[in-house]
Point group: C2
Chain length 345, copies 2
Amino acid sequence: MSKRVGEGTVELTSRPWAAAWSSTAGKKEHKGPLGGSFDFTLDDDLLGQKTWELAEAAMLRDTAIRCLDKVGLKPEDADVLLSGDLINQIMAAHFCARELGIPMLGLYSACSTMSEALAVGGILADSGAVRRAVCAVSSHFSTAERQYRTPLEQGGQRPASAQWTVTGAGATLVCGRDWLPEGVKPAAALRYATIGRVVDYAVRDMANMGAVMAPAAADTLARHLLDVGRTADDYDEIITGDLGKVGRELMLELLKEKGVKVDPSRVWDCGANIFSPEQDTHAGGSGCGCSAAVLNGYVLGRFAKGEVRRAAFMATGALLNATSVLQGETIPGVAHLVVLERERG
Amino acid sequence: MSKRVGEGTVELTSRPWAAAWSSTAGKKEHKGPLGGSFDFTLDDDLLGQKTWELAEAAMLRDTAIRCLDKVGLKPEDADVLLSGDLINQIMAAHFCARELGIPMLGLYSACSTMSEALAVGGILADSGAVRRAVCAVSSHFSTAERQYRTPLEQGGQRPASAQWTVTGAGATLVCGRDWLPEGVKPAAALRYATIGRVVDYAVRDMANMGAVMAPAAADTLARHLLDVGRTADDYDEIITGDLGKVGRELMLELLKEKGVKVDPSRVWDCGANIFSPEQDTHAGGSGCGCSAAVLNGYVLGRFAKGEVRRAAFMATGALLNATSVLQGETIPGVAHLVVLERERG
């Protein structure tokens, strides 16, 4: 049973499990500093499909199946699929769902979708509404670039604030306390969820998504800490989604302005760490597959080994719509936060 | 606290309230048979904004505010906004959320988004995760036509199976049992939610959305009745979203094939009823604003007057992506179902 804490945080009092996790990444991501932590690397970013969109859907489906398979489960052992991606109408998620056959709630909060899925999945498992929820999210460099920006063939110049959309997917199996498969050792429990507000600091630059997301990230983290009566030091790590290098600095500045003390060494960003500087992605990686793959590879892997015991995972989303930007509108951002904790013993 | 019933239905054991509701519709919708049941009719489908997209966002925001205002609440009295629309990246919902300031979960299941929002909002309120949830959904003829089909100025010919995207919005305030504002008489309680599966019967025709959605609707309704051990006769009404005239017939046929007995006189479709035959919309209305406005006008209005006591509301969505259709892919559908019940006394 869930409990409202403070103004806007949900405590998952039964502490549902992050019971299984799986990640997939593209070749470029595999060559980055976290490359060794992904379960599966694509040899071919088309996965043998005839379009990138179908490739992304297949990657998402395969990641969800691998996640279930790790703990000996089949799609029918899950009651709900919580899924989204960046293709218009979350096409990859829907094409994945029609093959898996799991009842699906379609989610969209841009690159914050992984933590949105964990927040909803956590509450559903905590409340007894479902036994198990598959939270699965993807992005693909080629589907995102052609939809949001310019044809790849144009070879446009990218500014230093630009980020590189990650080809990757991540899936987490969230299990209610009574529904952990026998013999399975979960990585961590879900303890809190703080749902983000949509925040707009009047940024219009499609090549500076970090600046769009930073205010939303600062807002959610500040509200979270106030709601649960913790300080940032109570977390081993605060993991942001894909603020990139520019957005991370802006978030830390905004937190300072709000009077929220944060030791910068505890805060790291999936987007700023998925590629090495030599890979020339400028401000880092982005796309909902970025934080999804890093969470379901590097982060939960370290939880499982006991290297992290308590972390706030806050994926961040730039709510970019190509039409509204052309119409001169500003771009809002959002950030959802979930707390993962490893219990003693 | 929620309870899993059967294979895939959630029982909301505390029965959260549909405490307030509001609807907005365009001029054409106002001239239809249900015109008198909408709270507010637009004189100008631009609402004084410079683009249709901003107009849709303003319509959605105003509908949510009116819904809260009816029971003396402000946006800060709600803990979550569950919202979606048909514009890419659910732009209207995000632009609405940045003005309301309510923490937001972005949802997308095309024209099934109203029942998806009620399902999630019901579970969140039932579990104690939130006090009150605003479920708000919209569509706009002009934003949808130019995004999914052809420029309006082209004046393309529409086949008989085509539907007309409704300009409209609906908002429902879902309250946990302890959080009904004093003196407020709710319309009904939320009792069950059956989350839809993504079903694809290989339809490729963008001008026959009824055929896309009918198999998903039949699947969800059949699963629901089996899960809760009820027959269709246990419902005063089974209200589908926007199957239109073609889709409604197909759903009834598919239910017959599945051996599910349904008295057709109990089944009516929001899309098939929002316009009169003289309005020349062919198979009827569509768009997530169609079922949202009809639910939050005509349907909950009749619940409040005691004219309906128990209904299954099943909005239906065609998960159409313009790129994938051009790539030759088929269009999947989905349908989420919630049960509304008026208690005795």
